[in-house]
């Protein structure tokens, strides 16, 4: 059989970054091909080249044996290459039928008028054929669950008769039941000789669903193999480039006294009955699907949101944080999940960012800034944490994601935090930066700090956390010790549903 999509010696360079180096992959019709790699490995860049968002700096893309050059994504789509992103491209205010036929609406006599009856009928027929029973053609997209919206996106690509479907982290918001329904659809596509490129971090799913896998690391292809010929450990090792246990910089921790205790924390419509304790010297993990409510819990503990009920104790004493300022005064720090939106002042310098919460504690008389102290502490921290930057006066937007994240960590170390809440701390940073970050986290708890880490990456959770608390739809569904935790047991706790 001939491959229908080929990347041939693809290079992609951006100013200062060689994102892809000599990547060549063949994709065959009717296969589910896993694309693996850490954040920053080059998966998104490769996908964008295959789907027409970027053009390669060097190398070619062959589709059905012919060289293709897409200048806009629309061209790739017309050719038959479709992408279903992690953030779904659904128009919330349109119906299911309108979404599926977006850009290809059936017209009355090919005139300007929309043939709504035909559109709805065709959509319903398609849904029936795909055996999707819980969605109607006339449903409003906004009223659907994430899983249902994903079905709509798949129906859209089936309707377009796509020959290649690229799916980016399709199961990150799905329950186990919904994942099964998704895999049934993928089987149908496979039977129709559609090529599926499947991007995911979930080993269990990859081993269940995929035929072959390609691993990227630091912009290069490390291996392509048949799934049945490899083990999970081999794949993870090739993703990180070294033995996994060194990667996570795992060290033994002996938990000490109680640092943070939460009792019965509730916030209407967001979470309820959250109770846990975190100790000095440990990393407590919080796992859950998107929408489970972890970020909301953490922001409430930090004082950025106000709880409706419940108590919080820091080092044994009850606290009532009315704003982040109170939390900071009690030596709690929060590293948010979206550093560009809520973690950094992008237009400001590294120095200004790193000292921001500490200014009220280090200034001269009458409120004048102590710029000497600022530059001294910024330089010291930048050295200690090995932040790669031309200078401390560099605009922070110009640093890489990994270095930006280190700056944010340094910010809280300067503010003397003893309890650090980290929300998705290694999202969007490359393999080496991640490993360094894990080492810094371990240093912090070794010196008596306490970390509460929210993460959606299972390998990271399993590799780093001493204990794992799982949240599901706003409540705690269970707690597992790091030693006993398995990928399966955690996913089960995160996605068991009482009804669909």
């Amino acid at each position: 059989m001939e491959p229908n999509l080929q990347a041939v010696h693809i290079h992609k360079r951006f100013p200062g970054v060689h994102a892809l180096t000599d990547v060549s992959i063949d994709f065959y019709p009717g296969e589910v091909h896993a694309l693996l790699g850490e954040n920053g490995a080059g998966k998104s860049t490769l996908i964008k080249i295959l789907s027409g968002v970027y053009t390669p700096t060097e190398g070619t893309v062959l589709f059905e044996g012919k060289e293709v050059c897409f200048h806009v994504p629309g061209e790739a789509l017309s050719a038959g290459i479709a992408v279903i992103h992690q953030e779904l491209s659904i128009a919330n205010d349109l119906t299911v039928a309108e979404n599926i036929f977006l850009g290809a609406e059936p017209r009355v006599n090919n005139g300007p008028f929309l043939n709504r009856a035909r559109m709805n009928a065709d959509t319903q027929a398609l849904l029936d054929q795909m055996k999707i029973t819980n969605i109607k053609a006339t449903d409003l997209a906004r009223d659907l669950t994430v899983a249902q919206q994903q079905m709509v996106e798949i129906a859209k690509v089936v309707n377009k008769r796509a020959k290649v479907v690229i799916m980016d982290e399709p199961t990150s918001s799905l329950s186990e039941h919904e994942i099964n329904a998704l895999f049934e659809q993928l089987d149908n596509l496979r039977r129709n000789n559609v090529t599926i490129i499947y991007i995911s971090h979930r080993m269990a799913e990859i081993f269940r669903m995929c035929d072959r896998a390609t691993v990227l690391r630091d912009g290069c292809k490390v291996m392509t193999c048949m799934i049945k010929d490899v083990t999970e450990t081999q794949i993870v090792n090739s993703m990180v480039g070294r033995e996994v246990k060194d990667y996570y910089n795992r060290r033994a921790h002996t938990p000490g006294k109680e640092m943070l205790r939460v009792e019965g924390l509730c916030r209407a419509k967001e979470f309820r009955d959250i109770s846990f304790t975190a100790y000095e010297g440990e990393i407590l993990g919080f796992y859950g699907l998107i929408g489970a409510g972890r970020t909301e819990v953490m922001e409430t503990i930090f004082g950025a949101r106000i709880a409706d009920a419940g108590k919080v104790f820091v080092e044994g004493e009850e606290v009532h944080f009315k704003s982040p300022k109170d939390a900071i005064e009690h030596r709690v720090g929060l590293v948010t999940e979206d550093r560009r939106r809520t973690g950094l002042m992008l237009q400001a310098t590294l120095c200004h960012n790193i000292v921001l919460p500490s200014l009220p504690y280090h200034h001269k008389k009458f409120g004048f800034l102590d710029t000497r102290w600022e530059t001294d502490i910024a330089s010291e921290m930048t050295d200690t944490l090995r932040v790669k930057t031309p200078s401390i006066q560099t605009i922070i937007a110009n640093l890489s994601g990994g270095n930006q994240q280190k700056v944010i960590l340094a910010k809280w170390l300067i503010a003397n935090s003893r309890i650090l809440i980290l929300d998705e701390p290694t999202r969007g940073i490359d393999v080496n930066a991640k490993s360094e970050f894990y080492a810094l986290m371990n240093d912090f708890v070794a010196q008596g700090g306490c970390i509460v880490m929210v993460s959606s990456e299972l390998p990271e959770m399993l590799g780093v956390a001493d204990r794992i608390i799982v949240m599901r739809e706003g409540v705690q569904s269970g707690e597992i010790s790091g030693a006993e935790a398995t990928e399966h047991s955690i996913i089960q706790l995160a996605s068991m549903q009482s009804n669909v």
Partner: protein
């Protein structure tokens, strides 16, 4: 050469100012004279006060279009008090002007700040309301006509000059210029060298981050608007002092020149960047254009067109430079 080019792109408006001065200097002999330069400073005075205060608000990511009305209101209020106290000495008179400005500025600024920081009214709308309320109050308080009968002691701040010489018996150094330089310097120091100033930049750069870093963003925004209104009010009393009366229609449209000066100086309307010093460059550019065109007898109607064009050019160059960096 690289360094010169880099300096040039970051300071386009300084180059523009130099070019304009050269052009007008060649176009009119009177432009470069010492007398004209002194006059320029008095022409810049009111806008400098308004623009310096507005810089705080714009760096915070907001806007205040009521500064012209607040200035007029302060002038009218001060003039009414002045009229009622004809026996005041120069010192007392000046104190009355400043006092009136502080009260009017505080009240108006607090109103704006409350609407914007607490009730989350869009800044453009909240200050639009203040613009109308302030202007209306001017006419209410003054009864519709100019508040005159202000004794000459009250003209010290706005019109008096020091250093009388034979050449110029009225004096060389205007008090208004000294006053403005001192106040603007204080504002510049407040913004660039204090913790509060750093909080202003942080709140304007990213309100979420500022809040999560322990900054009371609501209070910072409130204080920013108070500062802006107080500066506008001070500008208004300087104007009333200069004219020795309080006109209800004074400073009409001054908000536009103040915003133009701030933006020309390099303060981005989206917030997070800028400085008082750079706003003063913008003030200088506008004053030079008006002054130079007058001296060259160019139709004054064209002045607004020219200023509009220069603002557009400065903003486009600024955006292009940002895009190149990104």
């Amino acid at each position: 050469m690289e360094k010169v080019k880099s300096f040039a792109t970051k300071n386009i408006i300084v180059i523009v100012l130099i070019v304009l001065c050269l052009a007008f200097g060649l176009g009119s002999k009177a432009f470069i004279s010492a007398q004209n330069i002194v006059n320029l400073t008095t022409q810049m005075a009111i806008n400098a006060m308004l623009s310096a205060g507005l810089t705080f608000v714009i760096i915070l990511g907001g806007i205040d279009i009521s500064v012209g009305s607040v200035a007029a209101l302060a002038g009218v209020t001060g003039a009414l008090i002045a009229r009622a106290n004809p026996e005041a000495s120069v010192f007392t008179a000046s104190l009355i002007w400043v006092g009136a400005a502080l009260v009017v500025g505080l009240l108006c600024g607090a109103f704006n700040g409350l609407m914007i920081a607490k009730f989350k009214v869009v800044p453009m709308i909240a200050t639009l309301a203040m613009l109308n309320i302030g202007r209306g109050l001017c006419f209410v308080l003054s009864g519709g006509s100019s508040v005159s009968g202000v004794k000459s002691a009250y003209s010290f701040l706005g019109a008096a000059r020091l250093l009388k010489t034979v050449d110029k018996p009225t004096g060389w150094i205007p008090i208004i210029t000294i006053f403005v330089i001192i106040v603007v310097f204080i504002m510049h120091t407040l913004l660039s060298k204090t913790v509060f100033g750093r909080h202003v930049y942080a709140t304007g750069s990213n309100t979420h981050v500022a809040h999560l870093s322990g900054i009371n963003t609501g209070r910072t925004i409130f204080l920013g608007h108070v500062i802006c209104a107080v500066m506008a009010a001070l500008g208004g009393v300087l104007n009333a002092s200069k004219l020795q009366n309080g006109q209800p229609g004074a400073c009409d449209g001054y908000e536009m020149y103040a915003i133009a000066a701030t933006v020309l100086g390099g303060t981005s309307l989206s917030g997070g960047r800028g400085s008082v010093g750079r706003a003063m460059i913008g003030v200088a550019v506008i004053a030079v254009i008006n002054n130079g065109m007058n001296l060259m007898h160019i139709n004054s109607y064209w002045q607004k067109v020219v200023i509009g064009a220069i603002i557009l050019m400065a903003v486009i160059l600024d955006m292009a430079q940002k895009r190149r960096k990104a």
